[in-house]
């Protein structure tokens, strides 16, 4: 329940404070979100499998977001920003799907 409450708190905080992203960081926001989603679902799966670890979660969360943003930034500099964004989204999307499928199997046993 606590993680769910955290998600709600985050959403409400975003709505309440109406933080705006600096213009230069805007292209990296969607990618950062996908990376964060990947880390979060990985963490949830680890919890369910009983091998969750705070340090691994924090490091994977921050590293995922930064590396994804960096790859997109690099792609932008090389003129292949959209292709690299697609690559990042495909890779992270596959991981998210597989992890969520495992979570689903654990919860519903199906």
């Amino acid at each position: 329940m606590i993680p769910l409450a955290g998600l709600l708190v985050g959403i409400l905080a975003g709505l309440y404070f109406d933080v705006s992203v600096p213009l230069e960081l805007q292209p990296y926001l969607p990618i950062a979100i996908v990376a964060a989603l990947d880390a979060v679902f990985g963490g949830i799966r680890a919890v369910i499998e009983g091998i969750f670890n705070d340090k691994v979660f924090v490091v994977s969360f921050i590293a995922n977001v930064l590396i994804a943003a960096f790859i997109v930034f690099l792609g932008d500099q090389l003129g292949v920003g959209s292709q690299l964004s697609t690559a990042v989204i495909v890779v992270l999307g596959i991981r998210i799907f597989t992890n969520v499928a495992t979570i689903r199997r654990h919860i519903f046993h199906a």
Binding site: A5, G6, G10, G14, V19, I33, V47, V56, F57
Partner: protein, 267 residues
């Protein structure tokens, strides 16, 4: 393919396994049962929620800004259009007032009468006043079946120029296209696939009205360069055209303002 295989087979961060293995090796339990209460996970989800909300709000704001900008531009265009037509109406009413005042002034003397007639004939020639008389109407329209790929089945500015030139050479004394008088300052050109006459966008069908001897004008036009041009494009690309004689045509005045050219030879 090993990369993709890895991706499917081990979607979970290997770090979790390693950490668990290390803890097992150290003789501890891999993890406690109450990990749902891990502050790290909660903070991560707060961050995720924050990121999500920020991103969604950002996208919404951008969309609304773009659409309102667009709306503003459309409004501006309408306003300016209105202003242009209002100013044009003003110009034509002022021009007719000038004409009336001029003829009033010149009516008083015989020399003035003569000058007035001269001025009127010159104005009719240059298209500064409206003229009425018999003539022909040449209607040109795009082909019924459009070839979307290269668009050659549309009437081009070149075609209209050929028609107008053909009419002049057949003895037309005044020409107008869709109510736009052809004056010495008129340009028939296309901008962005739209034909502009007197810098006004025109739509098909194009009605080219010309005043002149109705019989010889139609005949000479048909025999001359304009008629042969129309026959050529009609047979090659299916453009429709029609030449009609009219008892009475009224061609409106054109706008012929001169800003730099001063009448006379100078000194």
């Amino acid at each position: 393919m090993s990369l993709l295989n890895d991706l499917f087979a081990k979607p979970l961060d290997p770090g979790y396994e390693d950490a668990a293995a290390r803890r097992r090796a150290a003789g501890e339990r891999p993890t406690s049962k109450r990990t749902w209460r891990s502050p790290a996970l909660a903070i991560g989800l707060v961050a995720l929620g924050l990121l999500l909300t920020m991103s969604v709000l950002q996208v919404r704001n951008t969309a609304s800004v773009v659409s309102s900008e667009r709306q503003g531009l459309i409004e501006q265009i309408h306003n300016e259009d209105e202003r242009v037509s209002r100013l044009q109406g003003e110009v034509s009413s002022l021009e007719s007032e000038i004409g009336r005042l001029e003829s009033d002034l010149l009516q008083n003397s015989a020399a003035g009468q003569q000058t007035r007639e001269e001025v009127e004939s010159l104005q009719a020639t240059t298209g500064a006043i409206a003229v009425t008389g018999p003539g022909v109407v040449v209607t040109v329209d795009n082909a019924a079946e459009q070839d979307a790929e290269n668009g050659t089945d549309k009437v081009l500015d070149l075609d209209l120029r050929q028609v107008v030139n053909g009419l002049w050479s057949a003895g037309a004394e005044a020409v107008a296209i869709n109510g736009q008088r052809i004056t010495p300052l008129t340009a028939i050109r296309s901008a962005q696939n739209v034909i502009q006459i007197n810098y006004r966008p025109m739509d098909a069908p194009y009605e080219v009205s010309a005043i002149g001897d109705p019989r010889s004008l139609a005949r000479d036009f048909g025999d001359g360069s304009g008629g042969s041009w129309l026959r050529d494009i009609a047979s090659s690309s299916g453009i429709y055209y029609d030449v009609d004689s009219e008892e009475s045509l009224t061609l409106p005045a054109g706008n012929t303002p001169l800003s730099f050219a001063i009448p006379g030879e100078g000194s």
